[in-house]
Symmetry: C2
Subunit: 350 residues, 2 copies
């Protein structure tokens, strides 16, 4: 029989979380990650009850609830994961933090710099966390391994990071309305570009970056005039490293995955190429492929099933222990800020 003391310790080491606002399917990945990291999904809320029930049904023990309030008032819930419409993500976060919860939002975390400032203040005021699901690094084993290799000095000093983030639009009519409204989704750099900014800062070890140039376009979707289907950005890190990324919505139907995402990391002593989702047109097409070229040779390293996704377990410990091991708040906000500033710079060109 377990004594009261033991139960108390277990409770102290258990993180219950909730999921709400299920506008983007990323919420499934977010819940998966947190559960694999040791969290327990307790409650799910969405204005669309069917959507909430459907998510809850996938995770045994989770229960669809009737309102946001039920979650915010539940003292057992320490963390709220959410994938609201992008322009609403900040306000959801502020309500969570005011209710004493940590917040874990889908990317892009904001659609305007003013929102970032509100969030920054609320974090200071409440001591809560405003974390972001930068899935293209955090939920990608080859990216996790690349981080470990870079940290271990496998390619020397990182000089340049080039990121390619193509995405499939799919059947345009299956996308929600907000996907085509600039004020609501924020722009392509602010949205899928935010992954790329985060990766640049992370792999180069920068704390800040200067925007050299940022541009966006609607090259192929005149029927959706507010959709940006292309964006690219050139950055210089505060340690002198060089960055470039491009993002787009032009993944062809024939690609076996949603997007042939790559990251190329050039160092003084070697380079790394990540083929995140697919080794395109190869006999061994599996993604999560890391290619390392150094002074010894060319190495092809399949990362699937190796590193796991340490971010989530670390985030859970951070929520319980009030530490910052998964990712610092400063890094989260800086990545968001640069993406927003790039978006503004691109907007000003129009």
């Amino acid at each position: 029989m377990i004594g009261t003391e033991k139960i108390q310790t277990m409770k102290e080491n258990t993180l219950f979380f909730a999921a709400m606002y299920l506008e983007h399917n990323h919420i499934y990945g977010m819940c998966d990650g947190l559960i694999q990291g040791g969290g327990i999904l307790k409650s799910v809320y969405d204005p669309d009850k069917e959507k909430a029930r459907s998510l809850a049904a996938r995770f045994p023990g989770a229960k669809a609830v009737e309102s946001e309030e039920e979650i915010l008032k539940d003292p057992e819930i320490l963390l709220v994961a959410a994938a609201a419409v992008p322009c609403e993500r900040c306000q959801v976060g502020i309500r969570c933090m005011e209710a004493g919860k940590d917040y874990f939002t889908d990317k892009g975390p904001f659609t305007a710099l003013e929102q970032l400032e509100l969030a920054r203040k609320k974090v200071e005021e409440t001591g809560r966390k405003y974390m972001v699901y930068y899935s293209e690094r955090l939920h990608s084993e080859c990216s996790v391994y690349a981080g470990q290799l870079v940290k271990a000095g496998a390619i020397g000093r990182v000089l340049s990071v080039t990121g390619l983030g193509p995405h499939r639009l799919g059947n345009p009519e299956e996308r929600p309305e907000w996907f085509y409204e600039k004020a609501r989704y924020g722009g392509i750099i602010c949205d899928i570009g935010s992954h790329q900014v985060e990766q640049f800062l992370y792999f180069t070890g920068c704390e800040d970056a200067k925007i050299e140039s940022a541009r966006t376009a609607n090259y192929g979707h005149p029927q959706y005039p507010e959709l940006e289907d292309y964006g690219d950005v050139m950055l210089t890190g505060d340690n002198g490293s060089a960055g470039y990324f491009r993002v787009d919505w032009f993944t062809p139907d024939g690609l076996s995955v949603w997007g042939d995402g790559r990251t190329l990391i050039l160092g003084t002593e070697g380079y790394i190429e990540l083929r995140k989702t697919v080794n395109v047109a190869a006999d061994d097409p599996q993604g999560d492929l890391l290619i390392l070229v150094d002074k010894e040779g060319e190495k092809k390293i399949s990362c699937r099933g190796t590193t796991g996704y340490p971010f989530f377990g670390q985030l859970i410990r951070d929520c319980l222990d009030r530490t910052e091991t998964a990712m610092t708040q400063a890094h989260v906000f800086k990545a968001a800020q640069i993406a927003l500033q790039c978006q503004e710079a691109a907007d000003r060109r129009k």
Copy 2:
């Protein structure tokens, strides 16, 4: 027995060329290309007689001569190929054109915009050609095939071209002195970046481009303070297409070739990736690999031994027929101009 008339026709259809100033090994590729295209290497000159003899020995019928003058005064020679020290390429070309020869120089064709202006005027004045060996496209079968695919509309409208042009420095002491002197080699964008500018213009079908940002660095070679070991550039084409390229001297010793050059061409209907020199870390490592992803699927196309290098045969016909089928003079000069302007923009940041 061949009659006089036939011999006359053969002569009219034969292009004799010379090679001089053998400062870069590209001259071997230039001669190979011209000979495979039907040209006949007649004379070779270099101030270093051993160098001239050594090149001549590789091509039966070619003869090392004692002076540049011997070549310029030879009425049978219509074209001069040269790979002089970059800062001298323009003057060599002007002397060739003044002597009534077409000129085919290694890239980068100039180290300063003033040289370009001199060459432009001399071309107008003499009606001769100032052609450039942009080998990373012209002497690359996968690049030739990419050009054919793009022209045929295989990926729709070209939106964006991303070029990676890493190069191996090798034993730094085996490089000539001019390699480390900025005034003589011109800078990394002006040198190996010129390939990239040319490819951007070619694949996007632009006639001009705006420089968004250009930067260079010496990240890892403080012992050679004037060496730029890194450069990258963001361009916008006059048809709205987007371009980025990076070039560097950081190819690790373990790579099986001199540089893992790539070109990524994104179109509205698909994309192409060129792995020019190596399919890095793959079981089938051969370069000249073209990957085409379109609405039908992912295709891996080995281009080695398929297209050949039509540029050279076309150039020879152009010299004989006074046409512009291989490459227009305007394109050659525009690519050079943009590379020089990028270099200047990068220089101004310092």
